[in-house]
């Protein structure tokens, strides 16, 4: 088995965004004797490429979802042994109170979900207390806070302060995003990171959680 050829085939299959092609590539990899963990790494590399192509406007959101769906189905067919018990990292995502912008945040949720995270999207105009409730309910590892207006940015800080007041801040990472948010703002309010776009959100979530 030429490992690199098999990995390239897995990546190529992911870029096709077709479940049957991805399933076939995974079956070939299994038949060639590749361990399940390495197959998943190959699929994940393909998913990263899908995200990059989305950012470049070469692939679109339905493609991202189709690729993620194919990957999910393919992984379910693998014998993961003990690794199969690995628990997904949980991310709470939402647009802060007073801000009704939804689309950018939804794209971030979709991309995170496509990358293997368990995402609970609370929607938009989310009261700050609801973020805290969700962190407790889902035992979250990260909170994603979106705001698209300068007038609602403070909501991101309010959620962080409420996390502190509830003794949860050290248990979760906080990512902020949205047009007026910046790295400087993230540092100022004590967030763990700022993401410029959906692709960067995935990269930073992986860096902080995996």
């Amino acid at each position: 088995m030429d490992k690199q050829i098999v990995l390239d085939e897995l990546k190529k299959a992911m870029l096709s965004c077709k479940a049957d092609v991805i399933m076939a590539a995974v079956k070939s990899a299994v038949d060639a004797g590749m361990p399940s963990g390495e197959i998943i790494d190959g699929l994940a590399a393909g998913m990263t490429e899908v995200g990059d192509q989305f950012e470049r406007g070469k692939l679109f959101l339905p493609h991202v979802m189709m690729a993620a769906n194919g990957m999910q189905k393919a992984v379910e067919t693998l014998d993961m042994g003990e690794a199969g018990a690995t628990i997904k990292k949980v991310i709470i995502n939402g647009t802060v109170e007073g801000d009704v912008h939804d689309i950018g945040k939804s794209i971030v949720s979709t991309m995170l979900q496509s990358s293997g995270f368990e995402v609970h999207d609370l929607g938009r105009d989310v009261p700050i207390a609801k973020f805290i409730e969700a962190v407790k309910e889902y035992n979250a590892d990260m909170v994603g806070l979106s705001a698209l207006m300068t007038t609602t940015l403070n909501g991101q800080r309010d959620v962080i302060e409420l996390l502190k007041a509830n003794g949860l801040r050290d248990k979760v990472k906080v990512m902020v995003g949205g047009a007026p948010a910046t790295t400087a703002w993230a540092e100022k309010i004590g967030a763990d990171c700022y993401a410029e776009n959906a692709t960067e959100a995935v990269e930073k979530a992986k860096a902080l959680l995996l």
């Binding site: 979802m65 189709m66 939804d102 689309i103």
Partner: protein
């Protein structure tokens, strides 16, 4: 030690850079546009011109004599009296006063009437008020006065509208339902834009400014371009300006076409042809500012994209220059040093017709 020049990051933070560093950043920014948009790179002379503008000693700079261009304003109608920490400055004034101030005191070359929600859908139940305001404003003003609003197709999705939110449907892998929701919303958005503008045109409007087109992705662009086409057929002399929301049309749907071309993933130089075909008079291309990158990086990137649009375009370009676009940092009140440098570079280097 090399001389350092004060510039900014894309988030507005003050930084100092040597001339060599500015050059390095400008080359990298232009290279990013080449990489993403597959547009021609800037020449060495053009990079030098960007450096020259970046290191000019004045806090504010200006275009050379004879290179002045018209400036138009979008939400200026309510910028004076906005008092909730948004773009406004809290001066109690009516919309008419706001528009007349822009015409007579601030030198705006065109102006628009806009509503606080600044989206077409919420105008439907109050269109009579808008028509009255348009008539009164036209009786008091000389500059071309348009009606301005965002297509804002997100308002047609739950929880704001009747159609299920495609973001939720996509996350649930319900692709066909998501496509149907976007297509139905687009039909309604086209119909609403046309209906509202029929009323406003009957009330004396000189045209329409479709602001932040494609904010909700390719279906938003699809609906807007079809509305432009319908309006052009009905009003051959109407002024129609199409301004974009972002540099690339996000593929929420992915398969919607206008005039045989898939809309998703189009960059500014690929958008202009379709805007022309739809029948618009003016196009407002957008290049987003990356807040983690420097001013020279962002400016060179914006110039590289816009230059290509300008080369291809057969209609006037009024480039979006402001908070977080056109190389200008993302700040509530964009810093004058960056605004004037970016504007000077954009006008002198790309051949645009207005801002």
């Amino acid at each position: 030690m090399a001389t350092e020049y004060y510039l900014r990051m894309g988030d507005g933070k003050r930084v100092s850079m040597s001339k060599d560093k500015i050059k390095e950043e400008a080359i990298a920014g232009a290279g990013n546009a080449v990489d993403y948009g597959l547009v021609p790179d800037l020449s060495a002379d053009e990079i030098d011109k960007i450096i020259e503008i970046c290191i000019m000693p004045g806090k504010a700079v200006a275009v050379e004599f004879g290179m002045e261009v018209p400036v138009t304003h979008d939400i200026g109608t309510i910028r004076l009296d906005g008092d909730q920490g948004n773009s406004g400055v809290g001066i109690p004034s009516s919309r008419l006063v706001g528009m007349m101030m822009h015409e007579r005191a601030f030198g705006a070359d065109t102006m628009e009437l806009g509503h606080i929600d600044y989206s077409f859908k919420p105008v439907k139940p109050i269109v009579s008020n808008e028509c009255q305001m348009m008539e009164v404003a036209q009786q008091n003003m000389i500059v071309p006065l348009f009606y301005g609003a965002m297509p804002n197709m997100g308002l047609y999705y739950t929880p704001d509208g009747p159609f299920e939110n495609p973001g939720d449907l996509l996350k649930a892998f319900k692709l066909d339902e998501a496509f149907a929701s976007m297509e139905h919303s687009a039909e309604h958005l086209t119909r609403d834009i046309v209906w509202i503008m029929q009323k406003l045109m009957a009330s004396g409007a000189d045209g329409v400014n479709l602001d932040t087109t494609a904010a909700a992705g390719d279906a938003d662009a699809y609906a807007t371009l079809n509305a432009v086409k319908a309006l052009r057929e009905e009003f051959p002399d109407m002024y129609i300006e199409v301004g974009m929301a972002g540099e690339s049309i996000i593929g929420m749907h992915g398969m919607l076409e206008f005039e045989g071309k898939i809309l998703a993933g189009l960059w500014p130089h690929q958008q202009i042809g379709l805007v022309e075909k739809a029948g618009a008079n003016v196009f407002g291309p957008v290049v987003n500012t990356n807040t983690s990158r420097s001013f020279p990086w962002n400016l060179a990137r914006a110039i590289t994209f816009t230059k290509e649009v300008s080369k291809i375009s057969n209609i006037p370009l009024h480039v979006d220059m402001g908070m977080g676009v056109g190389g200008i940092p993302m700040l509530e009140t964009p810093p004058i040093d960056a605004v004037t440098r970016a504007s000077k570079a954009m006008v002198e280097m790309t051949g645009i017709d207005g801002i």
